[in-house]
Symmetry: none
Subunit: 416 residues, 2 copies
C-alpha cells in the first residue's frame, strides 16, 4: 500500500507554522509498512484542494488529510472531500454531545459554527478526538482509503495512535507482521555509535536498523518482518543483544521512554523523593519531571534560585562561596544540591547552575555548567559540562545531562 499525506491550511503556505504532522504520520505509516511517496500542502481553497484530491487518487491508495476540520469558514476539508466523493455530511451525535459538554464544562457559550465540527462523511468511521472537538474520519471507497485528521498535533497524534492506526491495521490485514523496537542511547554521538556497530549495520536486511539523532540522544529503530510475531520479536531480541554487547554503556531505555521517565520509575520503585535547585534551568528540570503522570510520588518540589539573593537566603549558600568561587562553580552546585534536599526533606537533591548565554558571566564562558547531586547517606557529587548550543539549547541539554547523571546514580544505588 502506498500513501500520500495532504496537509490543508493556508497558515502552512504562509510559513506561520511548520508541517510536523507530515513527519509524525510518515514515521507511523513507515512502521506499518506503508510507503509514503508524496507530501502535499494546499491552502484553505476548495478548488485547489479538490485538484489535490484527484491527483492523490491517481497516485496513492491511502490519502491522509490533516487540518481543516475546525469550526470556521476557512475549514473546508471534509466539505470538499464530500463533494469530490459525492457523499453527504451527517451529524455524529456522540461528537456533538462531547462538544456541547466541553462548552458546558468551561462555561463558555457555544456558537452555532461549533456544531459544524460534529459533521462527518456519510459512511465513514468516526475517530474520537480526546483532546479537542472535531472528530476524525476513516472511509474506504472505490479502492481508495481516506483518513481525515485534525490539524493541531496534540489532537491529531493521540487520535492517530489510538484510533487511526487500528483502522489501517484492519485494512492491511496481511500475513506479514511488522515489529519494531527503538533502543535509546545518551552520551554518544550518532557517527560514533554508527562506527562502533558498523559491522552489524552493514550486514542487516531483516531486521533493519535505522539510526536517528536528536537533542543529544541517538536512537536505533530495529524493524523485523516475519509471518510469526513471536519469531519477529526474537529476531529483534537477538540483534538487540549484539548491539548492547558493544554499546550497552550508553543505552538507557526502549521506545518512547525518556531519561526522566526512567529516573522516575527507579525512584518510585525505591520510594525515593527528589528536590531540585535550579538556577540556569529556571524550573525546566522540575517541569519536565512534573509533566510525567505519577510525578507526585517522587517530586517534593524545590527552588528556582535565579538570583544570588535567593541562593543565599532561601538555599543558605554561604556568601563566601558566592564571593570566592561564584554562582557558577562546583562549590555552589554542591551546596545547592545538599541544601535543597534538606530544605524539602527529600532523599535526593539535584542542582543546576551555569551560564546560559547570550553573554558570559563571572568571566565564565557561555555553556559552562555545573550539576550537583546529593543523595542521603552518600557523598555529594558535581559534574561539569561545557555546552555549545544557544541559550535555550544549553538549558535543554543541561536538563538531559541532569537526568542522565541522576539515572546513572540511581542504577548504581539499586545494586546495593
Amino acid at each position: 500500500m502506498n500513501a500520500e499525506i495532504i496537509a490543508v491550511g493556508s497558515e502552512l503556505l504562509l510559513g506561520q507554522i511548520v508541517n510536523t504532522n507530515a513527519r509524525f504520520l510518515s514515521e507511523q505509516l513507515a512502521e506499518l509498512g506503508i510507503n509514503v511517496y508524496y507530501h502535499t500542502v494546499v491552502g484553505d481553497n476548495a478548488n485547489r484542494l479538490s485538484q489535490a484530491i484527484q491527483l492523490a487518487e491517481s497516485r496513492a491508495d491511502l490519502i491522509v488529510f490533516t487540518g481543516g476540520l475546525g469550526p470556521t469558514k476557512d475549514d473546508l476539508t471534509k466539505e470538499t472531500i464530500a463533494t469530490s466523493l459525492q457523499k453527504s455530511l451527517v451529524m455524529d451525535t456522540e461528537a456533538l454531545d462531547s462538544i456541547t459538554a466541553y462548552f458546558h464544562k468551561v462555561g463558555r457559550q457555544m456558537t452555532p459554527n461549533n456544531e459544524k465540527q460534529a459533521l462527518i462523511l456519510e459512511g465513514s468511521t468516526s475517530l474520537k478526538n480526546e483532546f479537542g472537538m472535531a472528530p476524525g474520519m476513516f472511509l474506504t471507497q472505490d479502492s481508495h482509503h481516506y483518513m481525515l485528521l485534525p490539524g493541531p498535533p496534540f489532537e491529531m497524534e493521540p487520535m492517530f495512535k489510538k484510533y487511526g492506526r487500528e483502522s489501517l491495521l484492519r485494512v492491511l490485514a496481511k500475513n506479514e507482521i511488522i515489529c519494531s523496537r527503538v533502543l535509546r542511547f545518551f552520551g554518544i554521538g550518532e557517527a560514533q555509535l554508527e562506527t562502533e556497530i558498523m559491522d552489524i549495520l552493514d550486514r542487516q536486511t531483516n531486521p533493519t536498523i535505522a539510526p536517528l539523532a536528536s537533542d543529544g540522544e541517538v536512537t536505533l529503530r530495529i524493524t523485523a518482518k516475519h509471518e510469526s510475531r513471536v519469531r519477529a520479536i526474537s529476531m529483534i531480541d537477538e540483534l538487540e543483544k549484539e548491539i548492547l554487547d558493544i554499546a550497552g554503556d550508553y543505552f538507557y531505555g526502549y521506545d518512547d521512554t525518556s531519561l526522566i521517565r526512567e529516573a522516575i520509575t527507579l525512584m518510585t520503585k525505591h520510594s525515593l523523593t527528589l528536590s531540585c535547585a535550579e538556577s540556569l534551568t529556571g524550573g525546566l528540570f522540575q517541569s519536565e519531571i512534573a509533566s510525567v503522570p505519577g510525578a507526585s510520588n517522587v517530586l517534593s518540589g524545590g527552588v528556582v534560585c535565579y538570583s544570588n539573593e535567593v541562593k543565599e537566603t532561601v538555599l543558605s549558600v554561604p556568601k563566601e562561596i558566592l564571593d570566592s568561587f561564584g554562582a557558577v562553580s562546583e562549590q555552589c552546585a554542591r551546596q545547592l544540591a545538599e541544601n535543597v534536599r534538606k530544605l524539602c526533606n527529600s532523599q535526593i537533591g539535584i542542582s543546576f547552575t551555569g551560564v546560559a548565554g547570550p553573554s558570559e558571566q563571572e568571566d565564565k564562558p557561555v555553556g559552562t555548567v555545573w550539576i550537583g547531586l546529593s543523595i542521603e547517606g552518600h557523598s555529594t557529587q558535581a559534574f561539569p559540562l561545557k555546552l555549545a548550543g544557544g541559550r535555550n539549547g544549553n538549558r535543554v541539554r543541561s536538563v538531559k545531562y541532569g537526568a542522565f547523571y541522576l539515572l546513572k546514580a540511581l542504577k548504581e544505588l539499586s545494586f546495593n
Copy 2:
C-alpha cells in the same frame, strides 16, 4: 507571481526529519508578495521527481527546490531538472575551487563524487554556498523560474537571504508593496472572535484578514497591498482600529511577541521583580520566563511546591488552610503568591495550584486551577480556571493564563 516549493528527500517521507525549509521559504516568499499555493515533498526517485516538476510547471510560475544537491548517488535534483528542461550540466569553477580549498583546509581527501557538487545547470546563475559545498542555482526558461537550494537549513537559509532573494527581486521588479501585521489575542476562542468581527471579515479584500488559533491564542494576520508603503501601513492601522474597537479586551500584542515577553517588558520598564510558587505547573512558568534573554532582570526565582509538605514548610501555608480548603483552593493560591513574594523579596508573587490530571484530587475534577497574584502594596487576587485539556495541555494553558493575568495587572499598574 505564484510559487510551489518542492522538497526532495526520502528522509522527509520516512518521517526522519521535518520540512522546516518549506516554512522558512513560504514566509520569505510571502514577504515578497509571492503566493505559495503548494508544498510538495518527493523522495530521491528520478521518475517521481520528474512528474512533480511537470505538475508544478502546470500550476506555478516559480518552482523552488530544496535538497538533493549533494555528492551521493541519492542526490539527483539537478540531474532530473536538467533532463526535464533538456539542459546540460556545466562545471562552476568558482564552486569547484571552493570545494577543493575546503578539503585542503580540513586535511581530508577529496573523493571524485565531491566534484559533482560543483556542476550547475547550463545558463543558470550560481548561488554561492557560504556554509557548505553545493552551490544553488537560479534559472528562467519558457516563462518559468527555477530555484535550486541545498537541503540543510543552515546552508539554505543564508543562501536564500543573501543571493536567492536578490534573484527574485530582479525578476519581480514590480511596484506593489505588501505589508502585514499580526494581532495577538488571548482569552477568546477562534470561533467567538470570528463571530464578533464577522461584519469586518465579510467585507475585506484588501487588506485581508487571516485568523489562526494555536495553544489557546488566536492571531489575526492583516495583509495590505498598495503601491505606497505608507498607504499600505495606514490601511492596516485603520483596520486594526476597527477590530480593536470590538475585540480590544482580548488583544495583547503584535507579531512574534508572547504574553510572557510582554509581561517581562513591562516589569523591566517599571523595575519590578517576580517570584513564583508553582504546584500544578511544576516550574514551567518560571522556565518560560527564564527562556527569554534578559529574564534575570525580573525573575528572582521561586519555589516549586509540588508536595503539601513543601507548601507548609518552605512557603508557610498554614496547615488549617490545607486541611479545610485543600491545596487546590483560592485560599491556598493567595497564600502561595503572597508568601513566595516575601520569601524571595520581590514586588510580585504569582502562584499556580490545580489538578493537572489524569486523576481528580481532593474531590476536585481534573482541570480545576487557581492562580494567585500578589503585588506589593495591592490586595492579593486569585483567578479560577476550568480547563479541559490533557495533563500537559492543562499545565501549558495555566502558564498562559498566568502570564495573561500578570500582564493585565501590570497594565493597570502602569496607569497609576
